[in-house]
Amino acid sequence: MSCCGNIWSIAKRELSGTVSSPVAYVFVVIFLLLSSFFTFMIGGFFERGQASLVSFFGWHPWLYLFLVPAVGMRMWAEERRSGTIELLLTLPITTWQAIAGKFLAYLVIIAVALLLTFPVWITVNYLGAPDNGVIFAGYIGSLLLGASYLAVTSFTSALTRNQVVSFILAVVICLFLILCGWPPVLNLLSRAVSQGFVDLVASFSFMTHFENVQRGVLDLRDIVFFVSVIVFFLFATHAVLRARRAG
């Protein structure tokens, strides 16, 4: 009870800080503009002639790649730069509650951005009869994907007091996690190492798992994958915060 209360207090503070700055608005607006642009202009939404949101969700890994690190890069870097981390971590809360609270706050922003894409959903339902189950699965997958990027950003943000460094590191790690499932990269890799290892690397890719979800298959394995990535990087955040204080 008090544990959730603490997490909520932290999340609320983080949200109020983000909402009073332009970061959250820029994130939401840019996400909406770009996702519509890619869906309708480049993704060939109309040309497909299908009542589905494949061309919508397909762009999310690439949109998130820049937008999520941009919105989350201040998470710990700013606390460290301004010294408020000393206030935060001497409050009677655990480091875990602080990490969870901050993570939750930014996840809310991503969720709001996703919810505001509802006109796309209305459009596709107006034009045809899509399988709304698949679309729902797509939204869940997209949120999990965003949350995974966010966990990576939380980790890189804890590493440094410089937001730009945190942003670049997060983009690089996320890009790696996208590309390691991409056929050209896998082909390159298969020349050097055994097929088993290539499969292992591919199984760590966001793409492999996100494509499954996008097709409307909410497989437990994919959900477990995303949740493990999130948990892993939040653990890494905790380890970094601890190590930085241990000196």
Partner: protein, 319 residues
Amino acid sequence: MISVKNLKKVFGTKAAVDGVSFNVGKGEILGFLGPNGAGKSTTMRIVTGFLPPTSGEARVGEFDVEEQPVEAKRLIGYLPENAPCYSDMTVSGFLGFCGEARGLRGTKLKDAVDRAIATCFLEPVVHQSIDTLSKGYRHRTCLAQSILHDPPVLVLDEPTDGLDPNQKHEVRSLIRRMGKDKAIIFSTHILEEVEAVCTRAIIIDRGRIVANGAPEELKARAAGAGTIVLRAADRGGAALRPFLEKLEGCSAVEVIAEQPAALRLRPKDAASAEALAARVHELAAREKWKLVELRIEEGRLDDVFRSITLPDSAPGKES
């Protein structure tokens, strides 16, 4: 309330805190003195649970800060160095957050915030965003945060830094007032502050405690403490000197100024200073000197501080 035992903190190869032990009880105000980089802030960060010690232990109340951090932190109010605040929040929003994170809700929270605002004179800026505040207000906002939940233990890292003289005075009397029923540690560079506020002072240098005692005790350790200064309006210093040198219990006489005469007498030991001063007074009355001043030097904390923390300077050098 606060008990620190053999605390050690190593950063890389440098020991920032090296075997520090002390206790602070309820009703005590402990002043932390030391040159920059002596380990004051590091010690405070360990006590408040921000940094884990490399070895040794810190206890607050009945809780070990390492093992039961949340319980220990509940008892502490902490003002970090440079008074960091969330600059994107308003003063009331910031205090509300801190109160909430400390488990205050509803009217209790509101009362606590109102009380802290009143205590720290923040009324004019309550709804202002923190990044628009002057340094003094920002500092007091962070101070308000530390006393919000009326904690039994207060750890204040340079609480008067960056305040104007009036605000300094206010904060000092606030600390004195709160010190009656709390255990307080505070660090400062201002030595008068220690004399004005503390019940006990610790001087820390290169990670070690080099002096620990009541401010009066520390002052008695100053090189000049216990010497007698006298001034006579109608005589020359050289003329008085032979008389004074013959006095019982006087080890040295130094002429500070010749006309009008000003001399300094060093007693054989500090304890006999008063007896010596009485004899000087008798002598002056007998010889009909026109004494304009006769006093025993108290010793200055500055001198103690300098002689302890500057090992290269000759001890006993007077300014």
